[in-house]
Subunit: 224 residues, 2 copies
Amino acid sequence: MTETRVPVPTLERLAIYLRVLLDAHESGIQTLSSQEIEQYSGISAAQFRKDLSYFGEFGKPGVGYSVEALIERIEQILRLDAEQPILLVGAGNIGSALVGYPNFQAHRLRIAAVFDNNFVKIGRPFGDLIIEDIARVRQVNAQIGARLGIIAVPAHAAQEVADALVDAGVTGILNFAPTILRVPPHVHVRNVSFLQELAVLSYHAVEDALRVNGQARRGGKDGV
Amino acid sequence: MTETRVPVPTLERLAIYLRVLLDAHESGIQTLSSQEIEQYSGISAAQFRKDLSYFGEFGKPGVGYSVEALIERIEQILRLDAEQPILLVGAGNIGSALVGYPNFQAHRLRIAAVFDNNFVKIGRPFGDLIIEDIARVRQVNAQIGARLGIIAVPAHAAQEVADALVDAGVTGILNFAPTILRVPPHVHVRNVSFLQELAVLSYHAVEDALRVNGQARRGGKDGV
DNA sequence: GCGCAATTGTGAACGCCTTCACAAACACGC
DNA sequence: GCGTGTTTGTGAAGGCGTTCACAATTGCGC
């Protein structure tokens, strides 16, 4: 049943390669070796080659990779070769930042509709869209056919929104709300948590500060 | 030298546990077993116990964990027991969403200053702060003493900003710009990339759609 | 053409995190 | 106080992704 699973980290890196390749393409570079990609991406050449090997063979020994061909291929893999419509739920601060995000276009990602449940907001313009009633998400997506959704609402409303998105046919959700979403097994969720990111940095930033100050603590379990 | 290294995934989960515990605390729950935490967090009980074991022993066999005590302990570990000031660079859409983000306070994270290089913006109010000149970041942070910084500027400016932050004493950077940052080894960087997240979802969402449609592809390397 | 230098693709080794499974610890009732 | 049931903490096993290392392949110059 499960085709040779592609590791998620590989997919994440694919997006990084794509960015590097697009940059190189704009600079007029036509060929890149895995070694050079390591330079630009910070990801090891071996890792790069292994990652690609999940999908076939794209390079020429002794030469490297055709930038243009590889861009095309990675876009195919990530389904970014045709425009991907996205449903955004939550016309607040984060939603606002997302509709105004300039880098989506180059990846053929397009926020195709915005929803909210606040009747004061519904009907108002948001970017170059009009905010629609979340209750109509299924109806609206019957037209759009989006498979991706973004949840940018407060935590207490997130699960409800997720259910609505799934009901509307969405199978991939990017969740900005700090909650665990329960979704059917065929739906994929990725969480973005500023708090989590900052918490990890907080640990490291201060940990290192202690070390630098010569306060290096002794092994692990302090048992306090 | 290196005290028993704590895996980064463990730190990430610590932030999740903390959120769950804070919720439970508000609900008046005083004790939680690892089993129950699995319920609320979606992270396995064994994983939870193993994660905590890096830092000591906090539970009572046969009983579970004191919610209050565990909150306190995790906050200590993540250095969220005292207020953490943060420098935000970039007074654009994303920066705007961050200063308006309501959930920082509960974790004692506070954006203590905002910077930009656009002289039109400098001096203007931003949330309840005044936008300052990025050129003054070192000077300003001499007062604040922040160890954490957030980069929310366009990719082409990100490296310069990172250098300035590091120069100002920042040792942890949350980077929203789609670029690889070069920083000294004592500085930690975490990247948040909407594009990357959506790209991964895009792959899965459509991949699954193909499967659901009965187009189940056969094993692995399709070599096409 | 043919040798040389560069670079790919990939099986195998490695390392790290997760999962397992169980002994030790504790509460509670009788 | 002692047995029973629950839950923790943690070594050991397992799984998965990364790194290594090298044979195979190609371009290029002569």
